[in-house]
């Protein structure tokens, strides 16, 4: 009898039998990014290990944000796991909308998660979402055009150098533009980039009393620099360019440099899509000599909404999808270049992964980002390319529209800053700051 019980327990410990008895179907909301699509393709491995089935709901990024916010606020319970970002996680965690991930087993090795990622997804030291992939921003440049311009890209360039290189690389008749930068309005579009530029120029969104700072000379300097640079060395119609538009321009060989998400490195070096795959170099995001680089920090993470009936199964999934074993599984199936980057220290210690040309620069960029001290001056908020308060999405997008209009030549930098200052002050006052 005892033998039978212990045998059964042994089988349970091996997971398959016991979990199969309580197999659940969990629903996961996600976005249509390469890493997420690969995860969907590998779900069979999770089902095999745990017995749980997975239903995927893939949504457009803005629709996803709206849907998950609506569902979590109304306790609709439509999703057991949500793909959320570094902006939502601390806000929702604080509001009690997410299940704390504070009981992850030892073999998950939570300490292996990159400190910047863990910090950005935690509230008071408690992790509320596990990073599925992380990114910073960096300079991607055409090595051939740089050579032609007679310049050499330093590993850690200054804005001054970037501006000089951009102007020298530009050949508008030949449709080569020295630099491609985001211009499309949106808190996660042009404002993500512009906020990092502002940080590096010593500007900040708010002072310690939550007073908006668009009227500061630092913001003026940062925005004027961006507008002048884009005017002289940017592509036409840049005010409607976001990540995908610039990616396309770079892949077609029309950009000398592109400063954007580190995750773009795998796209621009992929010879199937990129005409310049073998001519791309990487460098840290620039600085203005003030001690802060213009690089952001972002993670797409998996969080469990409070109120789901399937917390255990959801946790099992998150442990599977953000584990070291999952990274190895992707490497085995799709190669190391396709492993979701930017989440675990051990990945960057792996000699196989170190061979990837952009691995080191990605890690260095992530490590150089500090969400609690984003600017040279002290700030009352957390977040580098965003401010982790619920009002930011609205304010950021409205300010982004003003800056995008300035890039389109519809107003001056001063006018844009003045309007951004006024509307931010109004919104913050209405929000009770």
């Amino acid at each position: 009898m005892n033998i039978k019980v212990s045998t059964l327990l042994g089988a349970c410990a091996a997971a398959a039998l016991c979990t199969a008895a309580t197999a659940e179907t969990i629903t996961i909301a996600t976005v249509n990014n390469g890493d997420m699509i690969r995860m969907q393709g590998l779900t069979a491995d999770f089902t095999e290990k745990t017995g749980h089935e997975v239903e995927w709901v893939t949504l457009e990024e803005n629709v996803l944000r709206q849907r998950v916010t609506q569902d979590i606020a109304a306790k609709g319970g439509q999703f057991d796991i949500m793909t959320i970002g570094m902006y939502e996680t601390p806000i929702w965690g604080k509001q009690g909308w997410l299940v704390a991930l504070d009981d992850l087993p030892a073999e998950y090795d939570v300490d292996d998660i990159l400190p910047a990622m863990r910090g950005g997804l935690s509230v008071d030291g408690t992790l509320y979402a596990a990073p599925f992939y992380g990114e910073s921003s960096m300079v991607m440049y055409r090595t051939d055009l740089m050579e032609k311009a007679g310049l050499e890209m330093p590993e850690a360039p200054t804005w001054e150098f970037i501006a000089e290189a951009a102007r020298k690389m530009t050949d508008k008749d030949g449709e080569i533009y020295g630099i491609c930068l985001r211009g499309k309005a949106g808190w996660g579009e042009n404002m993500a980039f512009l906020t990092t530029v502002a940080n590096s120029f010593g500007a900040r969104w708010f002072d310690e009393d939550w007073k908006p700072q668009f009227d500061s000379p630092e913001w003026n300097e940062a925005l004027t620099f961006y507008l002048d640079l884009m005017d002289e060395a940017g592509p036409p119609g840049a005010s409607t360019n976001g990540f995908n538009e610039n990616l396309s321009l770079f892949q077609q060989g029309k950009c000398g440099m592109w400063i954007d998400a580190t995750v773009a490195a795998s796209f621009v070096t992929n010879p199937n899509d990129s005409t310049v795959a073998d001519k791309v170099g990487f460098a840290l995001a620039p600085d203005a000599g003030k001690g802060k680089r213009a690089n952001w920090l972002w993670a797409w993470a998996l969080g469990i909404p409070a109120g789901t009936q399937k917390v255990d199964a959801a946790k099992e999934f998150i442990q599977w999808a953000t584990s070291k074993e999952y990274l190895a599984l992707v490497a085995e199936n799709e190669g190391w270049a396709n492993v979701p980057p930017g989440t675990r220290t051990s990945l960057y210690e792996n000699p196989e992964y170190q061979k990837i040309p952009f691995a080191k620069m990605t890690l260095d960029s992530i490590n150089a980002a500090d969400p609690t001290n984003p600017s040279v001056q002290p700030v009352p908020y957390v977040g580098i390319q965003f401010v982790a308060i619920p009002e930011f999405a609205g304010i950021g997008t409205m300010a982004g529209q003003e800056f995008s209009a300035a890039l389109a030549g519809q107003q001056t930098a001063e006018e844009a800053l003045e309007k951004a200052q006024a509307l931010t002050a109004d919104e913050m006052e209405a929000a009770g700051y």
Binding site: T27, A29, V31, N32, N33, G34, I37, Q40, E55, W56, V57, T58, L59, E60, E61, V63, R67, Q70, A74, K75, G76, G77, Q78, F79, G188, F243, N244, E245, L247, S248, Q251, Q252, A261, V263, A264, F267, D273
Partner: protein, 276 residues
């Protein structure tokens, strides 16, 4: 001479009609063309029209990644169900308004239409909460009801207009011959108004098929129709236009085919009573 002028005018009219038709159809044509391009060709500048390497790769990827038949089936049930339910409710309503109008009929018609004046998002949250309470979230039944309610004013208005064209004397004659109310509606009115009912049915089926606000907001995995299928191919980081176009083409293909086969019915219904 007169014949020459006539031919010339006819040619001009034909050319103008084709130009307008092509202009209207262009976005769909462009979507279909893009679906056969590679992602790089889909966003190339200057754009390529026909001189590209035609590929079916996008369709392969979309079919492999998504359960197309499930989305399609959900679309058919939701669009079909809401339209049929709407017609069943609207025929008696339009009958009473057209043939036994009261002092307030015009007001009621306008009041019904006024429900369409509120942007849908205005009632999203109340309906969402109601659906949670009733357990209708992510269910086809819930969407059939909501889409039926959304389109009901249009269905009633359209049917009312068609019924008004039918002489009341015919119905009166049927009544004198001893037809009951039900017989009058089913055997006399409905057959006479078939072109009108058919075009109402088709138009509302198309409206429900393309409805992308409620279908995206009230569904998740189980009841999601083709609108959700299309939306899932937009990507914040990575090129997606070709695959999105393939998904869009697959989503509109059934309705395009339906429209093609029923265009005669649709046109005759929509111009019903136009020439008097």
């Amino acid at each position: 001479m007169a014949r020459a002028v006539n031919t010339q005018r006819k040619a001009i009219n034909t050319a103008a009609a084709w130009t307008v038709a092509l202009l209207i159809f262009f976005p769909i044509l462009w979507t279909i063309l893009t679906s056969f391009k590679t992602e790089a060709q889909a966003i190339s500048d200057p754009p390529v029209f026909f001189a590209f390497d035609w590929t079916l790769e996008n369709y392969g990827v979309v079919l492999e990644r998504s359960n197309y038949s499930r989305f399609l089936w959900n679309s058919i049930i939701i669009a079909g169900g809401s339209t049929i339910l709407g017609i069943l409710i609207a025929v008696p309503a339009a009958w009473s308004m057209a043939f036994v109008p009261s002092k307030r009929t015009k007001d009621i018609l306008l009041w019904m239409l006024s429900t369409k004046m509120l942007p849908a998002v205005g009632v999203l949250y109340p309906i969402y909460l109601l659906f949670i309470k009733l357990g209708l979230l992510d269910s086809r039944t819930g969407l059939v009801i909501v889409l039926m309610l959304m389109n009901l004013p249009i269905i009633v208005w359209m049917l009312y207009t068609y019924f008004k064209e039918i002489p009341g004397e015919i119905l009166e004659a049927a009544r004198m011959d001893g037809a009951s109310l039900k017989e009058e509606i089913v055997h006399i009115l409905t057959p006479m108004a078939i072109p009108g009912i058919a075009s109402t049915l088709l138009l509302n089926f198309i409206l429900a098929w393309n409805e992308a606000f409620w279908t995206l907001n009230l569904t998740a995995a189980k009841a999601a129709p083709l609108t959700a299928f299309i939306a899932s191919y937009s990507s914040p980081e990575g090129l997606f236009y070709a695959k999105l176009s393939a998904a869009s083409t697959m989503a509109i293909a059934p309705i395009l085919v339906l429209g093609w086969f029923s265009q005669k019915q649709l046109v005759s219904g929509l111009t019903f009573g136009a020439v008097k």
